[in-house]
Symmetry: C2
Subunit: 211 residues, 2 copies
Amino acid sequence: MEKGISQAVIRRMPRYYRYLGELLENGVERISSNDLSNLMKVTASQIRQDLNNFGGFGQQGYGYNVKFLYDEIGKIMGLNCRHDIIVIGAGNLGLALTNYAKFEKLGFVITALFDINPKLKGTKVRGIPVYMMDELEKYCKNHSIDIAALTIPKDSATEVAQKLVDLGIRAIWNFAHVDLDVGEDVIVENVHLSDSLMQLSYNIVKNTANE
Amino acid sequence: MEKGISQAVIRRMPRYYRYLGELLENGVERISSNDLSNLMKVTASQIRQDLNNFGGFGQQGYGYNVKFLYDEIGKIMGLNCRHDIIVIGAGNLGLALTNYAKFEKLGFVITALFDINPKLKGTKVRGIPVYMMDELEKYCKNHSIDIAALTIPKDSATEVAQKLVDLGIRAIWNFAHVDLDVGEDVIVENVHLSDSLMQLSYNIVKNTANE
């Protein structure tokens, strides 16, 4: 297993994966690091550095084998296994995630949604059942779940996250605007939309000041 | 205007802002960098370094004035002005953004949605009108728009982004899974959900391998 690779490098890998996937779809079999650099608007040196973290996949005078590199990055990112996901919260955001068919192609399969709204009991989203929160424990006992996506308000997120961890879930995709304190053996990946908006507004203010 | 502050530091600012906001709500007037460090699980040295980028707001033996620091970070992040947003795409994700009232408290006000589905013409979401895409040009001429949120599929995103730029929009909050090539004077902030999922799955694989 690779060790000591910075999260910054890991954060760049999905973008490589996306570009390589598009090259593959377009029938490109190999690409030089310069061409990849132009395409991705990243320096060739950055590309070589990034990929060297994983042993490097380029060959002098040949460039990168697109399919091989795509598959290797996929393996590194765990995309060669299926990951079952449950979505906690069947509001707009939960529905948006569930309706996004692209995730399945990457091996991320949403198997159930959970909500507290009794009107949603027994309904389905794209064929995927919506259960009530009081059915969560039973569901977790009978199914293997790799990831829980948390799309519920901040106020209940902490409590629900703890419940998920108690039920054995080891990875949380957290959309609630709160830092979850669930122990070091649980992986939390945050998507904080307000933070992203603030980042945007910072850059707007900076741009305006520099004009 | 501050210059040369790394985007990594900027990316950490919203989290400071969130914690300081919560302290304020709880009536905390000042906090030492050690207490803030414990609360945020960041080293006190990191906190001092981060805040020094902005001139530093701490005083020896006093700590940080919560309200002052909160307001200053707010100003730095452009949260002291109102930002008008239009949402392109009134699907689940567009609705989720529109229904998230928290954004307004931060000064981000969604003023209109746009879609191509004729069934949505004339409807409203939380009082906010949904227009058809062919009304976009007229709307942009008559309203000041700071940010366009792009929640449409990848295939149409590039074209629509160019249209928005042609209509004078200078900041795009992009949820489409594609890199927008819209020129250097346009700010693009990407939220790539698949990338976030891949990051999560990488860490799951790594954790499993280390067990």
